[in-house]
């Protein structure tokens, strides 16, 4: 009897554990936070907050003012020696690749600083210049208060941690926001062609 009961108990534990594990990992697809947030926005697009940004020019703009366009959003800090430099040059390449939709006002590139204390408008302008900004369709901005920054980090799923060299480490990706202001897709950085194709596919739909 004890053997049968043990079999039963073990089966129940295995089934319950398997079901919970499946629910936790999005049916065994997402074992990391990065994979999980990509899967989550694909299944349930998330509304992005209408946070006000101060741009490289010093002007202020609300993210809500950009509704009606597809946005490619990345998060950066301008002192960043690694990811953000790569992301910067990737955005410059996307300016070329998406020049048509940008000229028609369908697509806008937005780099948002998560280090607003240091990333003043002149710093942001210098970042754009360093990255090879082609001069059209790319805005760099910093949230005007820490509340706005917190809202953005939560909505986009950005985690910023201090590294050992006085800088930050953060999850780098390119976030696609639809004309209604919903985050619909998170794309890996590193291959601008894939990002361009994903964006053009969305425009064709």
């Amino acid at each position: 009897m004890a053997i049968l009961r043990t079999l039963l108990a073990s089966l129940v534990v295995l089934l319950a554990g398997g079901a919970t594990l499946s629910a936790t990992t999005g049916r065994f697809q997402a074992f990391t936070t990065e994979a999980a947030r990509r899967l989550a926005v694909q299944q349930h697009p998330a509304q992005t907050p209408a946070v006000t940004l101060q741009l490289q020019s010093g002007a202020r703009i609300g993210l809500a003012d950009l509704r009606g366009k597809w946005l490619l959003v990345d998060f950066i800090y301008t002192r960043c020696p690694t990811y953000c430099l790569a992301l910067g040059s990737e955005f410059a390449q996307l300016q070329d690749r998406l020049a048509g939709p940008i000229a028609q006002g369908q697509v806008q590139l937005v780099s948002i600083s998560f280090d607003p204390e240091r990333d003043t408008p002149p710093q942001l302008a210098a970042y754009l210049q360093r990255s090879g900004d082609r001069g059209h369709g790319w805005l760099a901005g910093r949230p005007i208060d820490s509340r706005g920054l917190g809202q953005l980090e939560r909505a986009f799923g950005i985690t910023v941690i201090a590294d050992t060299m006085g800088g930050y480490t953060h999850n780098a990706a390119i976030h696609l926001v639809d004309p209604q202001g919903r985050l619909v897709e998170i794309l890996d950085s590193g291959d601008p062609e894939l990002v361009a194709q994903a964006t053009l596919r969305r425009l064709d739909r």
């Binding site: 004890a2 053997i3 009961r5 043990t6 039963l8 108990a9 073990s10 534990v13 295995l14 554990g17 398997g18 919970t20 594990l21 936790t24 990992t25 997402a30 074992f31 990391t32 936070t33 990065e34 994979a35 999980a36 985690t159 941690i161 590294d163 050992t164 480490t169 999850n171």
Partner: protein, 207 residues
């Protein structure tokens, strides 16, 4: 020294477990132990397991008898402990346990109560083969995960740095090697299979 510590642990298991759990759940301890992936996986979670092991000694006799009736050779409790530990190896949950208070509560409850406690209840009932299979898997897990963390080129947790992940990998490989040496030594010179037969009533984990 160690004998006195063991004796002390045996005298007040519940109090020590409660003290351990309280200490670990203070903001100071959490901040320190969760600030690195290595500390969370190799200190915080193992200490929570230890709290669960100790708690098993405060269960009333009737509960023990009930569990035993469903726990032939310690299989059910081993399955429960293994399944639960699989969750706390997922990078996603290690991240969430830092950022999400609900997941943190789930960790502080499930690691002692669903890993440490059931394991302690099952270990004395496990026969030589079950123990062998468990130890093999336990050691293999250190090698598998350690190797993964060491060679993986990207961060698996958004909260932790890459060099932290690689250091964790190194430590896990070292622990794996140490466990192999310890088990080999016990197989060669120890009385490995005598535990289940000689101490059937004890619920203390063997060391």
């Amino acid at each position: 020294m160690i004998a006195r510590l063991t004796a002390w642990l045996h005298r007040h298991p519940t109090r020590i477990a409660a003290l351990l759990l309280l200490t670990l759940s203070t903001p100071l301890a959490r901040q320190n132990l969760e600030s690195s992936m290595t500390a969370q996986m190799l200190l915080q979670i193992p200490l929570l397991v230890v709290a669960g092991l100790l708690l098993s000694r405060s269960l009333p006799r009737r509960t023990l008898a009930f569990v035993a009736a469903w726990n032939h050779r310690g299989i059910s409790t081993l399955v429960l402990a293994s399944v639960t530990s699989a969750f706390w190896m997922l990078p996603r949950l290690l991240d969430a346990a830092v950022n999400d208070p609900l997941v943190a509560i789930a960790k502080f409850l499930s690691v002692p109560l669903l890993i440490g406690l059931p394991f302690a209840l099952g270990w004395p009932r496990m026969g030589f083969i079950v123990k062998g299979v468990f130890l093999l898997e336990f050691i293999a897990t250190f090698f598998r995960l350690g190797w993964l963390y060491l060679i993986w080129p990207e961060r698996l947790c958004n909260n932790y740095l890459l060099d932290d992940q690689q250091r964790l990998g190194q430590y896990m490989l070292l622990i794996g090697v140490a466990l192999v040496v310890a088990v080999a030594g016990k197989l060669l010179w120890g009385r490995f299979d005598s535990l289940a037969e000689s101490r059937p009533a004890s619920t203390a984990p063997a060391r």
